[in-house]
């Protein structure tokens, strides 16, 4: 049952998030950094652990979700399916390598520091998922979406996001029952992987009829309203298939990119994304609890040591996976593009804590490592950007 949301505190937090995002985004850019880094830092400062101006309230999280779904919708609109499929092989290799390497090394580091098998599995799994939201935003800022490197990263991040949730289901099952039923894993994998193909195959004729209706309509704003509704419906369908909602938003963009109104939709979507997506990046930053970074308490020190180890292997695992790509491409850039973790990593950590698989210290270490990779990636990508891009 939903509870009514107090309107004015929400509006105030929304306004603070927007102003903070733009102020810090601008400052980041003046320091030669991608503005998304500034938006993340604005979130840390405005979030509950420092100023408390942007709480992680139901309203803010809802607007953040709308923002990230529409941001991925916009990325999809700027992506050509055919070109994405051309790099399918290298993208798959990067995605799989980028899941296996961090999983294995995260597991080993955690075991080596004396934690049990279940905790180590959770930690390894939490390091597998690249944050498609952060990665796509940085690529867009660097004008690298429409390059071979950009497409490999994007394709790999989508595969990652889809498989990440399958792994989440597997790990959840292990935590609950101590074992895994392979048939259910295969089923949820087939469902998640099949979703994109089916969504695109069915979406193309459906979107043609929608655009046809739009073309005959006279009322104001029908193109943008119907396009957004289409993206929201594919987000719901993606969730029903076991993927993340943002994968549905991305698929909707891929589909509508193949219509003759692509440019008009893109233009109308832009200001909407400008207003709603910053709330997502600020909300990610706001989830950082700066008190955990204080090295004085003994408990924090052991957690920070584990966090440091996880950040290093989490970074190296994804970075190395970039070198699995073949063909002409700057492989270090691809690896860097896979580094940021995000939402899914945090979901793993929360699930691990809720089921008791992770104690408080390990939970903190995973959260710190997830954020460290997220904040590391934008400056790294900027410095590694291929000149030709």
């Amino acid at each position: 049952m939903d509870h009514a949301i107090a309107l004015t505190p929400f509006l105030l937090a929304f306004a603070c998030a927007l102003l903070g995002a733009k102020l810090f985004g601008e400052a980041a850019e003046r320091f030669g950094q991608p503005s998304v880094l500034g938006e993340l830092l604005a979130g840390v400062l405005l979030g509950p652990s420092v100023l408390g101006l942007v709480p992680l309230s139901a309203g803010i999280l809802l607007v953040a979700e709308i923002g990230v779904i529409l941001a991925l919708f916009e990325v999809g609109l700027d992506t050509e399916v055919a070109k994405l499929l051309q790099v399918g092989g290298p993208a798959l290799a990067v995605a799989l390598g980028g899941m296996i390497l961090p999983f294995a090394s995260g597991y080993l580091v955690t075991r080596a520091l004396g934690h049990d098998t279940l905790a180590s599995i959770f930690v390894g799994a939490a390091l597998t998922a690249t944050s498609i939201g952060i990665t796509a935003r940085v690529l867009s800022e660097l004008h690298s979406l429409d390059t071979r490197e950009g497409r490999i990263i994007l394709g790999a991040a989508v595969v990652d996001d889809v498989l990440g949730l399958v792994i989440l289901a597997v790990v959840g099952q292990i935590a609950e029952t101590g074992s895994v039923e392979l048939s259910s894993v295969a089923r949820s994998m087939a469902l998640a992987v099949g979703f994109l193909a089916v969504a695109i195959a069915l979406g193309i004729p459906v979107s043609r009829s929608l655009i046809g209706f739009v073309g005959r309509a006279n009322v104001r704003g029908v193109l943008v309203a119907v396009s957004v509704a289409f993206a929201l419906l594919l987000a719901v369908a993606a969730h029903a298939a076991g993927s993340a909602e943002i994968v549905g938003g991305f698929a909707a963009g891929l589909v509508l990119a193949r219509t003759n109104r692509r440019h008009d939709i893109d233009e109308a979507l832009r200001p909407i994304v400008d207003v709603f997506a910053p709330v997502f990046f600020v909300s990610v930053g706001a989830q950082v609890d700066v008190a955990l970074l204080n090295p004085l308490p003994q408990a924090n020190r052991t957690a920070l040591l584990l966090a440091l180890g996880l950040t290093i292997v989490g970074f190296l695992g994804k970075f190395a996976a970039g070198f699995l790509a073949w063909g002409p491409a700057r492989r270090a850039f691809i690896g860097a593009g896979m580094v940021p973790r995000g939402e899914v990593g945090l979901i793993f950590a929360s699930l691990g804590r809720a089921t008791g698989a992770l104690d408080q210290r390990v939970f903190v270490a995973v959260v710190v490592a997830v954020f460290a990779t997220t904040f590391l990636a934008p400056p790294l990508l900027k410095s590694l950007k291929p000149k030709a891009g």
Copy 2:
């Protein structure tokens, strides 16, 4: 305390609201009616009392609020303060007449049908407030915002909205204590009336600095994000001063209309309003419970009789008030523009039921009358539109 909102049901409802609004809006236009009438009807059909596809959930109501605040922001952007002040006299006369006439006649009708004094005061008060959201939308569709009639209606609706909440405070006090403290009424009236003047006086220099910052910034989307944040902050300030949030959105538009970026803001705001405002109009329609319109149960019949009486006097009171305007203007159009009730009328009715001042039958009658005037106004305005507008 906010509770997390289930994401996928919300996204589904949002998508249904958008598609329904555009489909029915288009149909309304083909029948020669303003499309907002179609959006309201889509709400009735999709709402909880018929199909249940758009529930009045916390998420939908939040998005609806964002939508109506930004819609009024857009209306403010298209309004010149100087021209609005030129019609200040007639607007004030129309507003005051349009509050006194429906209050008195609503009170008398309710008394005449045998209800007590307190109930009759509540009913009269519920008929005083014009829905600025509905009215502004119809004027915009008819391209009548920038006419003398349009400005008188808009000015009167703003006065109405401000005074309506003062009356709400008074009536609430009567229901609670049985009497009214005049000093507190005077204070809240001064606060509410003063808000617009202060907001505009202070807003103009503040908005100049904001626009200055925006002009020096390089990051994407800073103009639209900062403008929306400004509107949200004025909405919060309006609420703090005892007015409705939408009055703050309108004031923000008036202020930013005086900057040299007015046109750019207007353009960027348009698709945002196109996506969020329909959710507001659909949510208004979704509040209609069609079961109450069934004349077969005896209880409904007496309620519908009272509703009919209230609709007639509610209509005539506002319509007659239009003729209090002076100068060259089509007075019948002005009167029709004041007819739609909305949010505030429903708030009166809910408060009356909650305090026990209104029994279920009278509550239903007020709600039906509020909606009847809302659905009546768009076609009436369209048919009365002055040729020169």
